[in-house]
Assembly symmetry: C2
Homo-oligomer: 120 residues x 2
DNA sequence: TTGACGTATTCCCATATGGGCATATGATGG
DNA sequence: CCATCATATGCCCATATGGGAATACGTCAA
């Protein structure tokens, strides 16, 4: 199997930096495809493709406005991600402690080694 | 260009479900590769490969213990993700309102259409 | 209808994935 | 040194990516 499709879930969809930029931009309100492409410095087809992905995972919503299509943010799909990552909040600090331990162990191990000079 | 490497950042690394499972499991403490593989029902090589990715983005840490290698969580890399996604927190609810508006507009548009029966 | 504008889709390519499998590398105990 | 256990790598494959370019599709105005 290959890597999971970008459209398989929000996790995959937001793994792409440009798509994250799109979402950030859309916090300011709806934008047309051309506006997005221009503001983010990408080609119109690229914008459309990224928007398709975001649409398929439900992170954006389209609204027809004449010949334009206005894309708007639908952030609900980000909530599960926020919660999942939040499940590690307690470990952001604890990890520091463990790292300290780890480093201490390393230093100790070094000291117990013969005073060899092949230090790199 | 192809899709960005899974090792390019934490966003890409955690896009893979199995890697998320590994991280979750590691909240319970350090595990050896074999333990991880067994508990998550994946082959040892697969576990090693996933761990390599997580290691390269700094989400896990290795510690040698005899012939085993104990992998431990280093959740600090998840914090930026939490913050980025958290930047959308306000929109999880607001989006509902906008959706309401949207649906209202749709209904209104329907009513203004001639009573055509090609409903589909 | 035709033309112009705004979007979406298609085709091509280089790249790297995740998975299965075999095997290399590493460390340990006899 | 050798056999064994624990991990990491290498190779093969199918798949789909993101990007560029061209083009199809849709809508509006004249």
């Amino acid at each position: 199997m290959a890597r999971a499709a970008t459209t398989s879930d929000a996790f995959n969809a937001i793994a792409e930096p440009q798509r994250r930029e799109i979402l950030m931009l859309l916090r300011g309100g709806e934008r047309s495809v051309t506006e997005l492409a221009r503001d983010l410095g990408m080609s119109q087809p690229q914008a459309s493709k990224h928007l398709r992905v975001l649409r398929e995972v439900g992170l954006v919503r389209v609204r027809e406005a004449g010949k334009q299509r206005l894309y708007g943010l639908d952030a609900r799909g980000l909530r599960p991600i926020h919660e999942w990552v939040g499940g590690f909040e307690r470990f952001w600090n604890e990890t520091f402690d463990r790292l300290d331990e780890y480093v201490r162990d390393l230093k100790q191990a070094r000291q117990e080694e013969p005073p060899d000079d092949d230090d790199q």
